[in-house]
Symmetry: C2
Subunit: 317 residues, 2 copies
C-alpha cells in the first residue's frame, strides 16, 4: 500500500504535537483547527458534474473535517487550476455559496494554469476556531457507545446512479454532489465525545481507523444504521443494502464515541440530522458486525481505503 | 487576462480583513501568517529536475512569502500527488530538508492519486507566527527608499541554462532549484519597512504591484541592482544583463520600502544577504528606470505577470 508508505515517511516531518501524528482529521495550532483536502478531475469528480457542485463539495468536505473536531469555520485558502471561463466561474459560484453558507472567508491561495489537457485540480485549506475540547480519533475506550450523526449510503447510491447514467438526478445525486457538513452537530457533540471523526471513506473503514487509533475493537448492529427514506425507497434496508451503506463512503456523517452511561440525545442538539447509536467499542481489535439474524461476516472492502483516488494524509489504519 | 478576472471574482469571498483583499503575499489570522502556493510538473518544474529539489522549492517559495511578512515559520500542510516510489521519496527528502532547515513541522494535508499520465501537482500551506508588525504591500509612500535584500537574476540565468541543456549545472542552476527564503532578513526588516514583499515573478512586475498597492510610482537605478559574482561572470553587468535580472523572476529576494531618512543598514541584520538601495517611491504611477547613461525604456515584459503558469491569488496589479 504505497500511500501508507508515503504517509509513514511524511510522519517523520510531523514533529509538532498539533500534527496529531498525521492520524487525525485536522491539525490543531494556536487555537485553530486546520485541514487540507484536494480534489482532481476524473478521480474525485466527473468532467460532467456541474462545476458549481465541484466547488461546493471542495469546501464542504473540508468543513466536514472541522465539524468532526467541533470547530467553527473561519477562513480558507484556495488552490485553483485555471480552465475555461464558464467552468471556472461555475466552480467559484459553488465555492462562494458554500463559504457564504458556513461563514468562511477566503483569505488566500493561488491560481495555477496547468498544461493543456491536464485534469483540473483544486485544493482547499480550511481553518476553524477550536472549541474548548478538540476530540481526536484516539480517545475512545472499551465500553463507549458508538453514535452516527447523519445518514449513511445516500451519497454512494447517488454515485452509483451517476456511474450508470451521467445525466441521473434526484435526492441521492444531490447529496453526492452537495454534501452538508454537520457543523452545528459537531460543535454540540465535541465537548462530550471521547473520540470523533467524519465518515468520508465509508463507516466501516473509518470506524476501523477510530478503533485502531483508540486501541479498541467495535461491535456494530447493522440494523441500527441510520438510513434515509430516499435510500430505503431505492435500495431497501436488507443486509445487502445496509452493507452498501456501511461501506459506500462520501457520507460526511459524524462518527462519535461517548462513555457508556452518557446519552448524547440528552444534549442540546440541532433539530437535524438524526443521531443513532450503532454499537459500542469493546476490548480487542477489529470490527464485529451483527444484525437481527446474527453475526455478519465483515465485507472484503470496508470502504475506499485502497482506492487509488483520495486519501487524507490522516486516512491511515 | 483571465487570471485577473478569476481573482477579481474570488475577491468577493475574501471578506475577512486578514485576507488583505487577496492583494498581499499572505493572510493574517489570529497572530498567524498563512500562505499557499502550488507547483505543477511541466509548468513550475521539469520532469528532469531532481525530485528533492522540487520538494525543497515547494517549501522554500512558500517560506519566502512568510519572510516577506517578517513571520517565523511554524507549520505546513502538504497536498501530495502520488507517483512512483523513487520520485515520491525524493520529493519528500527535499520537503523534509527544507522543513528541518527552517523549523517547520508538517501538521497535515492529503495525498491524491491522479489519473495515469496526469502531471504531478504539489501544494503547500505554510503557517508562520506573526511579529508585532506584518508589513503589507500597500504601506509605501512617495519619498520612501526602495531596497532589495538578496541578488537578482541568478535563478532566471539558471533556468535559461536548463532550458538550453537539461543537464546543465552550476551555482545558478542550484539557486533556481534550491532558493533560500530570506527569513532572518525579513524578520529584521519587517518592523521598520513601510511595505515589503518577496520578488518571485521579477523585480519590475513585483515592484509595479507594490506601487499599485501603495498608490505610488517608483524610480529605479538599474546600476544599483544587486548582482552576484556568478551572475556577472556569466552575463556581465551591462544594461541588457541588468534588465534580464530585473525581469527574470524566481529570485525570492525581498523588496522593501523605508522612510527616506531611514537607513536599514543601521539595523542589526544577518551577515547575508546584501541589502541594496535601488531607488525610491515617488508620486504618480508606473515605473521609471535609469542607469549611468540616462533614462531606460521600460521593457515590454516586466516579469512573469502574464505567464500561463504560476500566479499567486495575490499576484495582481
Amino acid at each position: 500500500m504505497k500511500e501508507a508508505e508515503v504517509i509513514d515517511r511524511l510522519r517523520r516531518i510531523a514533529t509538532h504535537p498539533g500534527a496529531r501524528d498525521l492520524r487525525d482529521d485536522a491539525a490543531v495550532l494556536d487555537g485553530l483547527v486546520i485541514t487540507h483536502d484536494s480534489v482532481a478531475e476524473g478521480v474525485h469528480f466527473f468532467s460532467t458534474d456541474p462545476p458549481a457542485s465541484v466547488g461546493w463539495k471542495l469546501v464542504a468536505v473540508n468543513l466536514s473535517d472541522l465539524a468532526a473536531k467541533g470547530a467553527k469555520p473561519v477562513a480558507a485558502l484556495l488552490s485553483f487550476s485555471l480552465s475555461d471561463m464558464d467552468w471556472d466561474f461555475g466552480v467559484i459560484d459553488g465555492i462562494e455559496a458554500a463559504c457564504e453558507s458556513y461563514g468562511v472567508s477566503l483569505i488566500g491561495g493561488d491560481t495555477i494554469a496547468l498544461l493543456p489537457d491536464a485534469p483540473r485540480v483544486y485544493g482547499l485549506t480550511a481553518i476553524g476556531r477550536a472549541a474548548a475540547k478538540v476530540p481526536s480519533r484516539s480517545g475512545g475506550s472499551a465500553g463507549d457507545g458508538l453514535w452516527v450523526a447523519g445518514s449513511l449510503g445516500d451519497s454512494a447510491a447517488g454515485l452509483a446512479q451517476l456511474i450508470e447514467d451521467a445525466a441521473a438526478s434526484g435526492p441521492m445525486v444531490d447529496i453526492y454532489r452537495r454534501p452538508i457538513p454537520l457543523l452545528e452537530m459537531g460543535r454540540a457533540l465535541a465537548g462530550h465525545a471521547t473520540a470523533m471523526m467524519d465518515i468520508s471513506d465509508g463507516l466501516l473503514v473509518d470506524l476501523a481507523r477510530l478503533c485502531s487509533a483508540s486501541g479498541c475493537a467495535a461491535e456494530i448492529d447493522l440494523d441500527s444504521l441510520p438510513l434515509s427514506s430516499a435510500f430505503v425507497a431505492e435500495r431497501g434496508q436488507d443486509r445487502t443494502a445496509r452493507l452498501f451503506a456501511a461501506t459506500g463512503g462520501d457520507d460526511y456523517a459524524l462518527l462519535a464515541a461517548f462513555p457508556a452511561e452518557f446519552d448524547p440525545v440528552s444534549l442540546s442538539l440541532p433539530r437535524a440530522p438524526t443521531l443513532a447509536c450503532i454499537g459500542r467499542l469493546v476490548a480487542g481489535s477489529g470490527l464485529m458486525l451483527h444484525d437481527r439474524d446474527g453475526g455478519v461476516p465483515l465485507p472484503e472492502r470496508l470502504g475506499y481505503e485502497h482506492r487509488a483516488s483520495s486519501a487524507s494524509v490522516d486516512d491511515r489504519l
